[in-house]
């Protein structure tokens, strides 16, 4: 089977080469035969990759350990689900899985556009085939997933990394990969448009849905990654700015920017070069992210390990990619010239432009910060750590600005907004934001960043609510229906716009979750059976420790009781699992009490079986579940925006009058009965109480230093958050140093001297070469601002509107036909 699998990969490579060559030849010679044959070969690649995938999954299930990849990533005791997901658990298989997904997506894109975009399709096939060829080449010459042992095959495999044996981690890579490979489709259409010179807006329309769908999967992948980090790594948080997390975030920024700027091109014929650049950048960043994860140039707990040969192959591919794509952009610049220019900074297009620049700034900043340790090592020879404090310094204000723009954008008019227009649009959202912030302040919530974020969330919600209400009023007047039917009709008729607003509601909910972290409480405690501790409004009692085992692992479980005001409300079982084949990599099984308002998060950090003493990390995470709920709303909004025209047309035709109103009323009643009880029953006052006995300087130092234990699953977490034995020792050591009277700088210097570098610091000191890290964001911001002003000269002569047509009876007829068609459209 292994030989058949390898032969399949070779055949796929040949078919790819054929598809690319024949498609280009067919397009150049205008030969439909060659073009059709190229499309056929492109489908053949998909069939071959499906066959290769079936072979490798079969090998996993039938435990064919003669194949090295199967031996490395599975064992006979592994559950079937993880055997199946082991396919993408390692580097070789993940590349193959990538090509398979790309082949499926590419075939679907070509099939659905082969008639509508006939002139682009040959080049779309060629571009996707070239990308596939690169990844197939990697497998054939360097990372063959079907490589077998030359001598005797092992009796049993080594098993999948225990950290990956988690439901979220099993489905997180496929969703990220779908997001990544999906971005190849817009790139291929963009390149085809550049090559053929068909640079009107039609290629954008062909790729909009693909971009939206890929963006959704990318967001899903990021969210699943957060859920995995939250539940599996056991440090109480969900986002640690790990290089591999960042790799997936980079294309997300540029794809988000593209989804917004595409509207400016459609409406105002502006930003044509910019949109093409964003498509190229997004695709480039998906490849760069893959390179970062797989080459080992960055240190991460998720990375696949160091591989310089692979790094060189990726580097060459990326250079070729950049030179070819931007070369084409430069070649076609005359055709890409904007037909309008920005006329006012107080306009919708200006808001989109600022949003785009900020998203691009975020992408470049995160890329730079992720790569800075590698850059520093190359230049100075010393490796640094760029951890959460550094990112937070920049990304916190950026996030708040983006949230503000989410609310501002829909309120502004295209071209320019007049003062009266601004007053009319902004009054209610601003009042709502001010009332929210005032109310929170009066209620005693004094964490200013979170308070500001809550206020901005209210502002955005006000904007969206106002958009729905005013839109519904206009529609009601036009159609004569009731308000609820008008809202449903509104969403049905302008799915992209109102689906987009629902996406924004999802983003707001996620920001609520992020803002909740301002009220996060945590404590590390050592308890003996029967002892209890308090955190927030909870009393957590430790009852006992138990030890069990099954065929694959030994489980040490703490039994705990949670009380609120003396009443038992829950039983929690935090545990440590030791997989027999990975005993040095114990996994943390977090115990969670989830509510809408907050999570009580308990981790078994250490234990002593002899006297049953155990240490725990307790965390209260307010509003954290709103992040996951926000994603669900975001997915709903994207789904609405993606719905085909026929879906609503059918629903509208089939539903009796008043059905929309009745359905909404019933849904609202159901939500009222099920939903908000828990929200109001669990206020946040308790979160304001201090639960940690450490001094402010100790807490600051714990968040300024990273754990250097290098253990599996640890990955340079902040000392405040890491649960390993080394982190416990470090916290004790920091306490001792502070007790001795050392200042913050002296303690930091102590650790720099101990390790001989600044690697233990969570953010590099602002001195020497490191100044570049601190200077870069300012320089980038200044350059971006300059470019923004230069690029968008305000007040230029707008495009001279061409007369609809020359006078004459034909034109009048066409105008009348156009009006008829417009009337029939709704």
């Amino acid at each position: 089977m292994a030989s058949l699998g390898y032969l399949t990969l070779l055949a796929a490579f040949v078919a790819c080469s054929y598809a690319a060559a024949v498609s280009v030849a067919g397009a150049r010679r205008r030969s439909p035969r060659l073009i059709e044959s190229g499309i056929g070969a492109f489908y053949l690649v998909t069939a071959l990759m499906l066959l290769a995938s079936a072979i490798i999954v079969h090998a996993f299930v039938t435990e064919d350990f003669s194949i090295r990849y199967i031996d490395h990533y599975s064992d006979s005791a592994q559950p079937l689900f993880y055997k199946l997901t082991s396919y993408w658990g390692g580097l070789d298989g993940s590349i193959m899985f990538w090509v398979t997904l790309l082949a499926i997506f590419g075939a679907a894109a070509v099939y659905s556009n082969r008639e509508r975009q006939r002139e682009l399709i040959p080049y779309v096939v060629a571009v996707i085939a070239v990308v596939q060829m690169f990844f197939l080449f990697l497998m054939i010459v360097h990372k063959n997933p079907f490589a077998t042992y030359l001598l005797e095959a092992p009796v049993d495999g080594r098993g999948l990394n225990p950290l990956l044996q988690n439901f979220y981690m099993a489905i997180h890579p496929p969703s990220l990969y779908i997001g990544f490979v999906g971005m190849t489709i817009p790139f291929a259409f963009g390149m085809a448009a550049l090559i053929t010179g068909h640079l009107d807006d039609s290629w954008l329309r062909a790729v909009r849905r693909w971009t939206m769908m890929s963006w959704l999967f990318l967001t899903l992948g990021l969210t699943l990654g957060m859920m995995w980090a939250y539940e599996e790594l056991g440090w109480g948080g969900y986002w640690g700015w790990d290089p591999v997390e960042n790799a997936a975030l980079l294309p997300w920024f540029t794809a988000t920017a593209f989804l917004h700027s595409v509207m400016v091109q459609e409406r105002r014929s502006m930003l044509r070069v910019w949109n093409m650049t964003l498509v190229i950048m997004t695709f480039f960043l998906t490849i760069f992210g893959t390179f970062m994860t797989r080459s080992g140039i960055v240190q991460s707990i998720h990375a696949f390990g160091q591989d310089m040969a692979l790094a060189w192959m990726f580097t060459i591919f990326m250079v070729v990619l950049l030179v070819a794509s931007f070369g084409l952009v430069i070649y076609r610049l005359p055709l890409l010239r904007a037909r309008n220019e920005l006329e006012s900074w107080v306009s919708r297009e200006a808001a989109f432009l600022v949003n785009n620049w900020i998203l691009l700034f975020s992408a470049v900043f995160v890329l730079f910060a992720t790569m800075f340790p590698t850059l520093s090592e190359v230049v100075t020879g010393a490796r640094l750590t760029v951890g959460p404090p550094f990112y937070t310094t920049w990304m916190l204000p950026i996030g708040l600005i983006l949230l503000t723009l989410t609310g501002v954008g829909p309120l502004l008019a295209w071209r320019k907004s007049t003062p009266s227009n601004l007053r009319y649009q902004f009054t209610w959202p601003v009042v709502l934001a001010a009332a929210t912030m005032g109310g929170l302040y009066a209620a005693g919530f004094r964490v200013w960043v979170s308070g500001l974020c809550f206020g901005l969330c209210a502002f955005v919600c006000g904007t969206i609510g106002q958009e729905f209400v005013r839109g519904a009023v206009v529609r009601r007047e036009a159609t004569g229906t009731d308000i609820v039917t008008a809202i449903v009709g509104l969403v049905a008729r302008s799915r992209r716009r109102y689906g987009g607003y629902i996406v924004h509601v999802g983003i707001v909910l996620m920001f609520l979750g992020f803002a909740g972290s301002g009220y996060k409480r945590d404590a590390q405690v050592l308890l003996r059976p029967g002892e209890a501790t308090e955190i927030g409004r909870y009393t957590v009692r430790y009852d006992r420790l138990s030890e069990n085992s099954d065929a694959r692992k030994q489980m040490i479980t703490a039994h705990m009781t949670v009380l609120v005001e003396g009443e038992v409300v829950d039983q929690l079982y935090p545990a440590r699992w030791f997989f027999f084949k990975h005993e040095t990599e114990p996994t943390t099984e977090v115990a969670l009490r989830r509510t809408v308002a907050e999570d009580l998060y308990v981790v078994l950090a250490g234990y002593e079986m002899s006297d049953q003493a155990a240490s725990f990390q307790l965390t209260v995470n307010p509003l954290v579940n709103w992040i996951w709920f926000g994603f669900a709303v975001l997915a709903l909004g994207t789904g609405i925006a993606l719905l085909p025209e026929s879906a609503f047309a059918y629903a509208g035709a089939a539903a009796p009058q008043g059905a929309a109103t009745a359905s909404v009323v019933l849904l609202a009643a159901a939500l009222t009965l099920l939903g908000p009880v828990a929200v109001f029953a669990q206020p946040l006052e308790g979160a304001l109480q201090e639960a940690n006995e450490a001094t402010p300087l100790e807490l600051d130092l714990r968040r300024s230093l990273v754990c250097m234990c290098d253990g599996p699953g640890c990955g340079k977490k902040l000392v405040a958050e890491c649960m390993c034995v080394e982190a416990v020792r470090l916290r004790g050591e920091i306490r001792g140093l502070v007790a001795e009277g050392l200042t913050r700088d002296e303690v930091l210097r102590f650790y720099i001297d101990t390790h001989g570098s600044q690697e233990p610091l969570a953010a590099p000191l602002n001195e020497g070469f490191n100044r570049l890290a601190w200077f870069f964001p300012y320089a980038l911001g200044a350059v971006a601002l300059g470019a923004l002003v230069r690029w968008t000269r305000v007040g230029q002569e707008p495009e001279r509107a061409t007369s609809p047509a020359e006078p004459g009876s034909d034109t009048a007829q066409l105008e009348a036909r156009l009006d008829d068609e417009l009337r029939n459209l709704d």
Binding site: L34, H198, S202, E821, L822
Partner: protein, 166 residues
């Protein structure tokens, strides 16, 4: 689309029938030879055989256009673009015009701006309508051509049926 994919004789043996048959035979042989004990393994083996038949069908699809004697290109072009693309473009421009009207009704676009942006979209829509009208003659011709091919196929099929009955 190729002419081979649009035969009107629903009873005729089609290429994909051959590959389905081949897959069924291959699956049976694989079951007899491999004798898998695990049901999941069996299912995966069958999937692999199914994928192999897809490979055959796709290979046939890639080779067919090069070997067919009469290759008919059915995509209707309007200038350098397909008619379907231009029609879709027109629909989307109309949709944009509708959204613009809605924006004006909501007070988001002033009358002057509506006039300017609307005019641009109307010009584009009318240009596309003209393009579709001009090429409608070609379009009709291609429909006639297609109908002619179908008619010839039907005649040939009915002749074969008649011969078989005799």
């Amino acid at each position: 689309m190729m002419s081979s994919g649009t035969s009107t004789d629903s009873a005729a043996f089609r290429p994909w029938h051959l590959f389905v048959l081949a897959a069924l035979v291959a699956a049976t042989i694989a079951m007899l030879v491999a004798r898998p004990s695990d049901p999941v393994g069996t299912v995966l083996l069958m999937l692999a055989v199914g994928a192999a038949s897809l490979v055959g069908l796709a290979a046939y699809r890639a080779i067919l256009p090069l070997t067919q004697k009469e290759f008919v290109e059915t995509t209707v072009m309007v200038g350098s673009r397909s008619r379907a693309a231009v029609e879709r473009e027109k629909t989307l421009v109309l949709r944009s015009l509708k959204e613009l009207e809605f924006d004006r009704a909501m007070g988001k676009v002033s009358d002057g701006d509506f006039e300017e942006m609307g005019r641009r979209l109307r010009v584009l829509a009318i240009r596309l309508m003209k393009q579709l009208d001009v090429d409608a003659v070609d379009y009709l011709w291609s429909i006639w051509r297609r109908l002619d091919t179908v008619e010839r196929e039907l005649t040939s099929v009915s002749r074969r049926v008649a011969e078989r009955e005799l």
